[in-house]
């Protein structure tokens, strides 16, 4: 794809990711709102503008790969895949119901267009290392994008993978870090230190960018700066984001990692999302 989609279109798709997340969560009775809202703009820019994909041919060998290592944000990815034509959007009405293809954490054997299963945090970057190695071995120039949550950086396997990618010079491997600041039990720096995350990646031989993960223009610019070629330093983009972004009651709140909106709350949140992103007010944060 790698098409020139306008910013308003990408904004609209980010809104779509959020509203679909709210809709699907109501079907399930529980869902990961805030972890998905924090990466809505990143997903929008990646899938609607950046990635080289052919939804009509999901097994195309030269396609770019995407691994949703923070698998609990799959609820925001399914609507994108459906919207792009990988499967009929009406299938999402079965979300999490008995026998559905679409669960809280994604299964590549069930979801058309999904490049790998995820859910157990800390694994996704190793999957990406393997995909990037396979590209090198088979002489293909696709990129492999891996979206990491910031909390999962505490998993040791992440750093095994970071180290190996630097050593193996997997220049076509890209970390998209959703640095939303919160994990389940609190602020990441209180639960387990992550910063200085740029220095940490750089010390393993990675190139690192850091941009506002809700600024679509900045996200696209960061993508443009990714180098061509399949060898060289692997690429990390640290996206500073706000957990729960787009719904005031959820922004930087510890109460909405998993939740369920009902009744008027559901309607109010949908109305709020339809109005588009409002300026973030940190006074509401915990």
């Amino acid at each position: 794809m790698r098409s020139n989609v306008s910013l308003p279109v990408l904004e609209e798709r980010a809104k779509f990711i959020r509203t679909e997340t709210v809709r699907l969560t109501r079907i399930a009775g529980a869902g990961h709102y805030s972890s998905t809202f924090s990466c809505a703009e990143i997903l929008s820019a990646l899938y609607y503008s950046q990635m080289r994909i052919e939804p009509a041919n999901p097994s195309w060998a030269d396609r770019d790969r995407f691994v949703m290592s923070k698998g609990h944000a799959a609820i925001g990815l399914y609507p994108v895949l459906a919207d792009l034509g990988y499967f009929d959007p009406s299938e999402l009405d079965t979300y999490t119901r008995l026998g559905s293809n679409y669960g809280d954490h994604p299964d590549m054997k069930k979801v058309r267009g999904l490049d790998f299963s995820s859910g157990s945090l800390g694994h996704g970057l190793s999957v990406g290392v393997g995909m990037a190695l396979a590209g090198r071995i088979t002489g293909r120039d696709y990129r492999t994008y891996v979206m990491l949550g910031d909390g999962e950086l505490s998993e040791g396997q992440i750093w095994e993978a970071v180290n190996s990618a630097g050593h193996l010079k997997l220049g076509h491997l890209v970390i998209l870090l959703d640095r939303n600041g919160l994990s389940i039990d609190g602020h990441t720096e209180d639960v387990m230190t992550i910063e200085p995350v740029q220095d940490r990646f750089a010390s393993f031989g990675w190139d690192v960018q850091r941009v506002d993960g809700h600024d679509l223009s900045a996200i696209l610019d960061a993508f443009v700066r990714l180098p061509q070629g399949t060898t060289g330093k692997p690429q990390a983009i640290v996206f500073d984001t706000i957990k729960g972004r787009g719904v005031r009651r959820m922004e930087m709140s510890l109460d909405w990692h998993v939740g369920n909106l009902v009744g008027e709350d559901y309607d109010d949140v949908m109305t709020e999302l339809e109005a588009g992103l409002q300026p973030y007010n940190p006074e509401h944060a915990e």
Binding site: S126, V129, A134, T138, E160
Partner: protein, 347 residues
């Protein structure tokens, strides 16, 4: 340095005197390694990879010990050494497999099957990726290196995972057959090896079917069902029982632990009655437990499991440990005699 010490040192690249290299140690000892399972691993994979570009090999800083360096020397572009990072290796193999490759990843069984169990389940078995995890130096074959380096629980841990084929290689020729059959076998596999000096059972590469046991000899009074490293000793024990006790002993190589060959177990129950399982594994959860799960659904026959008791074993050289736990030929014969005495032959 005694021969035994030299042998033990060979497990790693270095040796106990800190000077002799791995290859030097081989030449000093002068014993040809060809034909022993771990030592045909890299050679066989390299040969297979000549005609199959999908085959890739990885290890975790044990290329010398498991001889995947024989693959590296032939196909350096399809070999990855991940360093001492087994979880990353197994999951990355799954990522490679998702792109159409067939990765064989090898390290000590304790560090792939036990340390990497979750990666095997979640990244290989669950998405049905054709990753072949090869656990070398399984059981207590690492001897005095201690329980950290033993894998006496791997079969129990892995055979309960759905969509994971679990196979024990019996000897060099059997390993060749397993590897050749593995290429296009659907889904993930765990292939369990000894330490590379397992004695010969098969004079040539057997006609192997994954999931189908191999009946090594017929018998009417007793069936010995063994797997992997103890099959040779079981055959020798059977010969002793036939010569000294006049027993007619059936011997089955149950190389595939999952999926298990239920028909062969049922046939043993019907044909010979008494069944004794033998394995280099904790008595809980391994081959014996798997066979018991089949037998419990059948008309009752005398049955006993023989393996390592549910504890961490003493320090000692492998041969001493096998004798201690009666997993050498005399020990197996002794256990079989006790079993037969307790359950006298039906008329």
């Amino acid at each position: 340095m005694s021969t035994e010490m030299q042998n033990e040192a060979e497990i790693f690249r270095g040796t106990t005197d800190g000077k002799t290299t791995f290859r030097d140690a081989r030449s000093v000892r002068g014993t040809p390694k060809k034909g022993l399972p771990a030592f045909v691993l890299g050679e066989e994979l390299a040969e297979m990879a000549r005609s199959d570009p999908r085959i890739v090999v990885a290890t975790a800083d044990l290329a010398s010990a498991n001889r995947t360096n024989d693959f590296r020397d032939v196909h350096p572009d399809r070999f990855v050494n991940f360093g001492i990072a087994e979880k990353n290796m197994i999951t990355a193999a799954a990522g490679m497999a998702s792109c159409g490759l067939i990765p064989y990843v090898a390290t000590f069984a304790s560090f792939c099957a036990i340390l990497g169990a979750e990666q095997i389940r979640t990244d290989c078995a669950y998405p049905r990726m054709p990753v072949r995890v090869i656990g070398t130096h399984s059981g207590m074959s690492m001897g005095f290196y201690g329980s950290s380096h033993h894998a006496l629980e791997d079969l129990g841990m892995l055979r309960v995972m759905a969509d994971l084929t679990v196979i024990c290689a019996t000897d060099a020729n059997h390993l060749r057959a397993v590897l050749r059959k593995s290429v296009d076998h659907p889904g993930a596999m765990y292939i369990r090896l000894g330490r590379g000096r397992d004695p010969v059972v098969y004079d040539s590469v057997p006609d192997l079917k994954i999931g189908r046991a191999i009946r090594l000899q017929e018998g009417l009074d007793l069936t010995l069902i063994a797997t992997g490293s103890v099959v040779r000793a079981t055959l020798d024990a059977a010969a002793t029982l036939e010569a000294e006790d006049g027993l007619s002993v059936r011997v089955v190589d149950m190389h595939t632990i999952s999926p298990l060959d239920r028909a062969e177990i049922q046939a043993a129950a019907e044909d010979t009655g008494r069944i004794l399982t033998i394995e280099e594994h904790n008595i809980t959860g391994g081959l014996g437990s798997a066979v018991a799960e089949v037998l419990v659904d059948l008309p009752r026959v005398p049955f006993r499991r023989h393996g390592v008791p549910d504890r961490y074993v003493e320090i000692g050289p492998p041969a001493a440990l096998y004798a201690q736990y009666r997993l050498d030929a005399p020990g197996i014969a002794e256990v079989a005699r006790e079993f037969c005495s307790a359950f006298t032959q039906r008329s």
